[in-house]
């Protein structure tokens, strides 16, 4: 008998057509205009960015759009040392959770402009936009976040939003 195979390829592939839903579609459209828009829960008043469509705590539909700041606080981060399929960034780089001023949940984006070993929780950052004509209804319309140079936010300022 021939030598037994030791490895078999078993790829799993799922092809979807994803729908953003109404609230998130408005958020994505606003990114093309250089605005970051979330939605506020009518019950608990939390602002979700990007919009989730419904409040996961209260179970109600979000309706009121809210423009939040393009500056925020880095509340968590990950140092990436393994190249991913769609990224051609030099390693290592940092992907972080940014709590924008006026938002109640952080969202994930690329952090640039600071050596990896100096990245820390509480760092104040600002969105860097791609030029207007190149923007798409996508979070990629924000190229990255960069440090603003402000003093770090104190832990109690974001401890409820980790």
């Amino acid at each position: 008998m021939s030598e037994k195979p030791r490895v078999s390829l078993a790829p799993v592939r799922l092809e979807y057509r994803a729908s953003a839903g109404r609230g998130l579609s408005r958020s994505l459209a606003a990114l093309m205009e250089g605005r970051i828009v979330g939605q506020r829960c009518p019950v608990c008043a939390k602002v979700y960015v990007p919009s989730r469509g419904a409040c996961p705590s209260c179970g109600v539909v979000l309706s009121e759009d809210v423009v939040v700041s393009e500056t925020g606080t880095l509340v968590s981060f990950c140092v990436v040392n393994i190249p991913l399929a769609d990224r051609s960034l030099p390693l290592p780089y940092v992907h972080g959770s940014v709590l924008l001023d006026g938002a109640d949940i952080p969202f994930s984006h690329l952090l640039q402009g600071l050596p990896v070993e100096e990245v820390r929780m509480g760092l104040r950052v600002r969105a860097e936009w791609v030029p207007g004509p190149e923007r798409k209804p996508s979070l990629e319309s924000i190229r990255c976040f960069r440090p603003t140079g402000e003093p770090d936010a104190p832990f109690h300022a974001y401890m409820e939003h980790l």
């Binding site: 021939s2 037994k4 490895v7 078999s8 390829l9 078993a10 799993v12 592939r13 979807y16 953003a20």
Partner: protein, 161 residues
């Protein structure tokens, strides 16, 4: 794992709702383990191997451990390249990655000499030609490389003598 949405293809559907293609892919390379490895090597030589349990059942494809007792399985025996369809589902519109480009059935096939059934494709042409209990035989692939696709599919046949 990789996930990619071609955002450039984002499109506006009804009520201003955006949609986009989104592909989720896990590019697993799976270790075959001792028994499945020998099972796959057997396919390359047009042989079908199953594992015999202490109770005498023959399981094809061979699991590493007996489902009922958890005993490790070591003994492989050869079974026939003919069998019986125990259940099936007709695919009238095959997708790009399906094994056949024309309509076919996914079926559980219990090979003659085996006590368990294996999932594979039956190329019957029409759903009217499919039935539970029907007899099928292996159609081998021209090029075999130690993969479950060394069995191109099963095709209907008369009962084995």
């Amino acid at each position: 794992m990789s996930a990619s949405g071609q955002q450039s293809q984002a499109a506006v559907s009804g009520a201003g709702v955006l949609t986009a293609p989104y592909t989720l892919e896990y590019t697993y390379r799976r270790s075959t383990g001792p028994l499945i490895g020998r099972f796959l090597a057997g396919l390359q030589e047009k042989r079908l191997l199953g594992a015999r349990t202490r109770g005498g059942d023959v399981l094809v494809p061979p699991p590493e451990y007996a489902p009922g007792t958890g005993e490790p399985l070591v003994e492989l025996v050869e079974v026939a390249a003919t069998g019986v369809v125990t259940t099936w589902a007709w695919v009238s519109q095959p997708r790009d990655r399906d094994p056949l480009s024309h309509p076919f059935a996914w079926a559980l096939v219990r090979l003659d000499g085996a006590n368990s059934s294996m999932l594979h494709v039956v190329d019957a042409g029409l759903p009217e030609r499919m039935s539970t209990g029907m007899h099928v035989r292996v159609r081998w692939s021209e090029t075999r490389e130690g993969s479950i696709r060394d069995i191109a599919c099963f095709e209907p046949c008369e009962e084995a003598p």
